[in-house]
Symmetry: C2
Subunit: 421 residues, 2 copies
């Protein structure tokens, strides 16, 4: 009998990697907990897709009810997408009143880039040099670590991403200005190359870049430069969105800016394949006039029902408040831990998206961080790493994560730091 | 109170069109039936997404069970995708043994094009001049009717699509040769332009082209030309696949060819957002080596469970046999109808994908066909049009469509033809 790992390699290809030295063979999930096929229980500190907790009964119930009633596409009229869509856009600045539903964050960003192109008539895109926005052919041009097939094309310019310990321009105080100068330089280059600027696309929490601590207004000057050149601002809220960061519903609100286009994905329907673009009515209309876009599965009644249930659970269970409270509590615990472990060079985060950056001998501790990820998995706590050198332990659990869970996380981290030294 | 149509225009944009002059406000579905919010019942002769019937209880049950147990991504090991994937690839030629799961047919074709590029090192693509393969930035280059944003790029060459009444080269007998010559010409052009040939991508049933009647071996010479130039064959089975055409599980089997890459979508999980690429192990491996592709929602346990239930229902309810039997019966009825209505210029199809082409005064009867679609909707039968001039009534119902349903369809078509004349 081949093992599951062997079957995977044969069926899904040898490069379909798993997390952890010893992969977790999962079977069941509930709230912040996962169980493997041996019945072992894990504290899930990493999965943002099950935003309101693994298998939340209200989301499951919404999916079951609607799947048993009707699931078809949006060439018919159905109330579910309208009820959901109106509830969703009410969470945004009043200008962002229109919605296009798709199936994945990749599809959302692929559409967003074309919306910018349709609006501006230009093709140039500015992103950061350490990011990931998805995997379609077009969107993969923005990837830092995954070189697109065929290589990078000249319409994309990458600016240095902000960072706490390795700030752009050398100092934290001067980072916003240095970042803006990078964007201004990219604007100039794109205008000179004839591409022009269609959009700056960023995750407003810079999640893949290691979620640096940024002051409100950090992006203002960069945004000005893009808008002066006629470009749009795309906020990829796939990771920070839906209240995860505790202080706000959306990452861009924390920065104090209103983008032209917002893309949503992973947590939107707790794992059901749902994603969306939220934008101004004018932009959606211009896009639709330029291209007859239709997405068969996007916004179907079951997807809308699942997403609406998530929205309702966030409200009813006060998960934004929970993210704020538990996140602050956990960051406090990690700060205490940092006082006892020299390898913790920085503790940061907002809401239930936080972590600890590991350095050793004056350098990012990539190997130690990898060892910690595996050691904690062996001790029943699932998390992973992020950052330019994968040197930061990243914690991004389902938003029902509570103070007891934070205690367990930090206790296990403490033990593991002792063990891997 | 705004109407649902007004809410749609405001929220989803003014160009989010609906089917039918009088849109159908759907509420419930079961088998081949849809009900609107007024309780009116419609015979669904058009929706291929609910492949095994609207809200099939076994698919709904599979979704509910797995959604309540676990829904996470493929960075963990889970049996569901392995069990499903092995069952799925067993339906293909033994060479097509590997699987990559995604969320939409668009994502599947976007990946397939890059697989071809990774395998061949070339970028040229050949498609037909009247097709649709999806809506990502890259895939939209293949669209005939939806001009991509930014216009067409020179790496795509479009060849004339086969047709029953307007055959390539002027005669049905010479159509295969004429089609092949078109492909050979495209090969030459792509080699001369320096793009080279990465792939020929076709729907092997030419579904969007009006599903012309093609003999086995129709594609042989064209395929030879592509393979001699080092290119791959991509079969987009989103429409003909999963036994719809009755004679075979896949459209390419009907033509008697084995593609290098097969893409799957819409009907795969009865409406749950699931799609896939099935290919040779070598191609998947080469793609993965060239690009670290990962799809968060693709192949999650719920998606795999839904898709597996569809596969099981097709087998257990003998839906391929049903498609063959009922399709042949319906085409017979339509042929009888054609004898009494001069406007029916051709009746054709295979399994539960068939239709009647309307001509008047020696020309494709576009307006009459549109009127028929609306007239039949008003008489409680839902179908739509296809073809270069939208002149063909297209019937493509859930595969549980039975002979009684066919009787009703043809009776209503008969009445409607009388009414719209």
């Amino acid at each position: 009998m081949p093992t599951a790992i062997e079957r995977r390699a044969r069926l899904l290809g040898p490069h379909m990697t798993t997390f952890y030295r010893e992969p977790v063979h999962v079977e069941r999930g509930e709230g912040v907990w996962l169980w493997d096929t041996d019945g072992r229980k894990y504290l899930d500190c990493y999965n943002n897709v099950p935003h309101v907790g693994h298998c939340h009964p209200r989301v499951v119930e919404a999916i079951c009810r609607q799947a048993g009633m009707l699931n078809t596409h949006t060439r018919y009229v159905h109330d579910m997408i309208l009820d959901y869509g109106e509830a969703l856009v009410s969470k945004f600045d009043h200008s962002l009143s229109s919605l296009l539903m798709v199936c994945s964050g990749s599809e959302a960003n692929d559409v967003a880039l074309r919306m910018a192109q349709a609006m501006t008539g230009k093709t140039g895109i500015i992103g950061t040099d350490n990011t990931y926005h998805g995997n379609t052919t077009a969107v993969s041009q923005l990837n830092a670590s995954k070189v697109p097939i065929g290589g990078y094309q000249p319409h994309v310019r990458k600016v240095s991403a902000p960072d706490n310990l390795m700030p752009v321009g050398g100092t934290r105080a001067g980072q916003a200005e240095a970042f803006a100068k990078g964007v201004e330089q990219a604007v100039t280059e794109l205008e000179e190359s004839g591409h022009g600027v269609s959009a700056l696309i960023i995750c407003p929490y810079f999640a893949n870049e290691g979620f640096p601590t940024l002051e409100r207004g950090f992006m203002d000057r960069a945004i000005d430069a893009v808008r002066k050149a006629g470009g749009l601002i795309i906020a990829d809220e796939v990771q920070p969105g839906f209240g995860r960061i505790g202080s706000h519903w959306w990452g861009h609100e924390k920065l104090g800016c209103t983008p032209d286009i917002v893309t949503l994905g992973k947590p939107m329907a707790n794992g059901h394949p749902v994603a969306a673009v939220v934008t101004r009515h004018e932009i959606l209309t211009t896009f639709q006039e330029a291209f007859k876009y239709f997405n068969t599965f996007g916004g179907n009644p079951v997807s809308a029902a699942a997403a609406h249930a998530v929205l309702n659970v966030i409200e009813d269970e006060k998960l934004v408040e929970n993210a704020r409270d538990v996140g602050a509590y956990a960051v406090g615990l990690l700060s205490d831990l940092a006082a006892r472990h020299d390898v913790i060079a920085d503790v940061r985060g907002s809401g239930l998206f936080f972590g600890a950056e590991l350095w050793r001998d004056g350098k990012p501790a990539t190997e130690l961080c990898a060892a910690m990820v595996d050691e904690m998995r062996d001790r029943g706590v699932l998390l992973h790493s992020v950052g330019r050198f994968s040197q930061t332990l990243k914690v991004r659990p389902p938003c029902v994560f509570n103070r007891d869970n934070a205690d367990q996380l930090v206790q296990v981290m403490d033990d593991a730091l002792g063990a891997v030294k």
